[in-house]
């Protein structure tokens, strides 16, 4: 039993060490030459445009659902009119960033792990090295940049369609006046932690999702079965880390802002 614990913690430490090594190399690679511009643009497109539909759908349904529910709760206090404030703040601070990140983990994280994993087991990564290319610069840097840049952009879009979805429900189901809804959303946005939370989180999440997926993909071994395992690990580890990071970013920002 102790030997099991020992080997487990040794493996975990090794995994973390390798992750940090890869991440540092990728960050260094993003700020030095050669940069593979073509691959960066391709990844920005794949991550950004490719994920738009999922993010729009998740955003609008989430916004509609929380508006309908908040309406019921607020009615108990006769405060239905301020529903916009609640929807705006929770969408921007919490639901927009977290749900977008979870969707991207499923869509982008799994894709990266599967692609890099199969390149690994078919020796394509070794072929890159043999042909004089650093796989970190060619494969990891473009994906890391795309995740880091596109996750916040997609989150803002998700926030916006979520609040708009909320308006639909507020206006037509809760019978709240449109002007009232939007001005109450605006009131909600004046709270100082909204921008902090809403803008810091997606950068952190985007970075976590792609770096974890790249790390898992690049450590794939064991043929096609290994690729399947890597894909699962990238999604599970990515999702758990996103939710854990959400809690810690909350704590840190609250400590810093108040």
């Amino acid at each position: 039993m102790p030997s099991f614990v020992e080997s487990w913690s040794k493996n975990a430490a090794l995994e973390v060490q390798e992750y940090i090594r890869l991440t540092l190399a990728a960050v260094r690679g993003a700020f030095s030459r050669p940069l593979y511009r073509h691959d960066i643009i391709e990844q920005l497109d794949a991550v950004g445009i490719g994920s738009l539909t999922v993010v729009l759908l998740t955003g609008i349904f989430t916004g509609m659902a929380i508006t309908a529910q908040s309406g019921l709760t607020l009615d108990q206090f006769g405060a239905r009119a301020v529903v916009g404030r609640l929807v705006g703040a929770s969408m921007i601070k919490e639901l927009g960033p977290v749900l977008t990140a979870l969707m991207l983990t499923g869509r982008v994280g799994s894709g990266i792990a599967a692609e890099l994993g199969s390149m690994m087991v078919t020796d394509q990564i070794n072929a890159l090295r043999a042909l004089g290319t650093d796989p970190i610069r060619k494969l990891v840097v473009p994906r890391m940049l795309a995740g880091f840049i596109m996750t916040p952009v997609l989150t803002v879009i998700s926030d916006f369609v979520g609040i708009s979805g909320g308006w639909l429900v507020a206006r037509f189901q809760l019978q709240v006046n449109s002007g009232l809804y939007w001005s109450s959303v605006r009131d909600g946005l004046y709270m100082q932690d909204v921008y902090g939370m809403g803008l810091v989180k997606p950068f952190v999440f985007g970075f976590i999702i792609v770096t974890v997926a790249c790390h898992v993909g690049m450590r794939t071994s064991g043929g096609t079965a290994g690729v399947g395992r890597s894909t699962t690990v990238a999604v599970v580890a990515g999702s758990v880390l996103v939710i854990a990071a959400d809690f810690f970013v909350n704590q840190i920002l609250v400590a810093l802002l108040y």
């Binding site: 078919t122 020796d123 394509q124 070794n126 072929a127 090295r129 043999a130 042909l131 004089g132 290319t133």
Partner: protein, 283 residues
């Protein structure tokens, strides 16, 4: 300082001469965890010569080629490639050595998101300053060389196994490395296609002066490469003919078993060998 400089230029000059040692394995050892793959392996590849590595699967043939290319590091021993200690170079320094090394991977390892053209020209498009139209011309030239000119715009997944193998050879030779390492380039091919691949290996060696390491466990192909040579006919056409005895001695066989070399010698010596393991491998 001047002494060092002359030493270095001397070394360069020596390496450019025919018969210079371009790849040297000196007591190389490698184990994965507790599984020993190479116990004690030493050999030398001379410039313009062919080393044919035989051995059962799992005997460490691919691993040896990866050590030469610096994709794996040996646990012990010294590895020289073109006068550089590759066992001591880091990944960055290794890139310069790799510029003169072409490796044909066992399964081809073509980039499946790129077309045949982009695969073959990969190093020139991505890692060189060569003008685009010159690269295009070079890519078309090498694809013509391996007889695949009409497949230039296909994806690798649309090609047959033999065609993919030849694209892999084209990719490895496109940047004109002077050392080519073939990892089972003919395994799993039908005999006719295998012979065309063997002919490529022979042509590159005899016309371009490439030094080659040919890994295989197909004896037919091994002997074909060892005992034939490429010449130009009267009208400049390429002919593959029986090698002269001197030429035949430039191809050396090497058999790996349990992490050590159990046979080393030319085709004639291999045919005459009486060791029971090698005889069973030959039959």
């Amino acid at each position: 300082m001047p002494a060092d400089l002359t030493l270095e230029t001397d070394a360069r000059a020596v390496l450019d001469e025919p018969g210079a040692p371009v790849v040297v394995f000196d007591h190389v050892e490698l184990a994965f965890d507790d599984k020993v793959v190479l116990r004690d392996v030493s050999f030398t590849l001379l410039k313009g010569h062919t080393k044919i590595i035989l051995g059962a699967s799992g005997s460490g043939k691919s691993t040896s080629l990866k050590i030469i290319t610096g994709l794996l590091k040996a646990d012990a021993g010294v590895v020289w490639v073109n006068g550089q200690r590759v066992d001591q170079l880091n990944e960055q320094e290794m890139m310069a050595v790799r510029a003169d090394l072409g490796l044909i991977f066992q399964e081809g390892a073509l980039f499946d998101s790129l077309t045949v053209r982009e695969n073959v020209g990969y190093k020139l498009y991505e890692e060189s300053d060569m003008p685009l139209d010159e690269i295009d011309r070079r890519v078309e030239e090498v694809l013509g060389f391996v007889g695949l000119a009409e497949h230039i715009d296909k994806m690798p997944s649309a090609l047959s196994g033999g065609q993919r193998r030849r694209v892999a050879i084209a990719r490895a030779m496109a940047f004109k490395p002077r050392i080519l390492l073939y990892d089972e380039a003919t395994t799993g091919l039908d005999p006719i296609t295998a012979l065309t691949v063997d002919a490529e290996i022979i042509k590159l060696r005899d016309f371009e002066g490439v030094s080659s390491i040919v890994v295989t466990h197909q004896l037919r192909d091994a002997f074909y490469v060892a005992t034939h040579m490429a010449v130009r006919g009267e009208r400049g056409e390429v002919q593959i003919v029986r090698a002269t005895p001197e030429k035949e001695r430039e191809a050396e066989f090497l058999m790996l078993k349990d992490g050590v070399i159990v046979f080393e010698g030319d085709a004639e010596a291999l045919r005459r060998c009486t060791d029971p393991y090698i005889r069973s491998f030959l039959s």
